[in-house]
Subunit: 237 residues, 2 copies
Amino acid sequence: MKLFVVGIGPGKIEYMSNYAIDVLKKVDYIVGYTKYIDRIKKYFNEKNFIHTGMRKEVERVKHAVGKVNEGYNVAIVSSGDSGVYGMASLAISLCENVEIVPGITAANSAAALLGAPLTLDFAVISMSDILVEWEKIVMRATYFAKSGVTTVIYNPISKIRKHQLKKVFEIFKKERNEFYIGIVKNAFLPNQRSYYIKSTSNIDWINDIDMMSIVFFCDENTIEKNNKIYVPRGYKQ
Amino acid sequence: MKLFVVGIGPGKIEYMSNYAIDVLKKVDYIVGYTKYIDRIKKYFNEKNFIHTGMRKEVERVKHAVGKVNEGYNVAIVSSGDSGVYGMASLAISLCENVEIVPGITAANSAAALLGAPLTLDFAVISMSDILVEWEKIVMRATYFAKSGVTTVIYNPISKIRKHQLKKVFEIFKKERNEFYIGIVKNAFLPNQRSYYIKSTSNIDWINDIDMMSIVFFCDENTIEKNNKIYVPRGYKQ
């Protein structure tokens, strides 16, 4: 029996791959964080769902592996791509027979709403210092800022973490000239909102960031046109 | 009328989103690089296809915009995500009414075949110095190597570019201790192949890299288990 780790993309069935949908239709159990299960439940009526709350990741994967060992096919769902800050890593560590089913990661879905801020090289960093030391996050943010690439910030803020984003923004301000900041909330979900501002604005934008936001500190070459921002690819037109 | 820029993921219809499929069914024209059009043609029989060869990107997008201006809905397809080294940027620069339809980018689909090398922060870099100066690529590779993150290498080699990958590998060797190298060829397509080796191996692996390969220089914390490599997320188990 097999454990599938399925990326469900931004969470609307329209943005899931057909293969991911087929897998979820075929397995005996679908396991996931309560909020993600709520998003997809209506599309897979006949299934057995197992859901747990935040911070119950290890418990959730162990539960799924238990069901595999009992002889069932099981899928664990992750929002975005299951391999990016997702459950794939834990699943591989706890189960011999795992298939990773990729999905559209938040960096790509959020970028699509802003324009094309990821045209060229880019980097992805999480502000969460629960599982990673803060010093390492600062070190990485500094190198990404120096590299000049558009940097996508996952988990920018949470109820218990408030100051990390502002500190990393200050690092980027120090290393770069003016740059665009892109903000996307609830990408492809109800209450979706996306906009961009310049780093020269006052920093009130930080107060608007919540747990459902993805933030982009853009490449200095980013251009604004037709209500979108994009990094030019460099073609001679 | 509207120009859609559609990411088709690895190229098999099973890994496209349902929304991307709906868009391609609905538009009047589908425009793209000949090789990508060949992959999807059979699924959209009734459509008018416009395809051009390599390096004809600007011509292709102008052709598509011309059709929009004539009153048609048009889709341009890109493999992977249309915003990552894709056509989204050029489309926004040339057309007022553009919708970007995200897809599963090669970094995520290739990673799924190796395990979970992108669990935590990561960076993406292209070896192509046709549109980006080589000095900038070296600078970025050096910062990414120092940052410690798994770095995904797009366009590692081409018929006219052979030496860049070896030079960037040497940069990583200098900045890091031993690390895993993941190699994925033809992800989710015929002749798919994926494997990983350690950076201490002799460098014959470089001779196996072709234009359809994606290369991962992994985070030093990467672990091998159950025939997969993954970056542990740090949970207490």
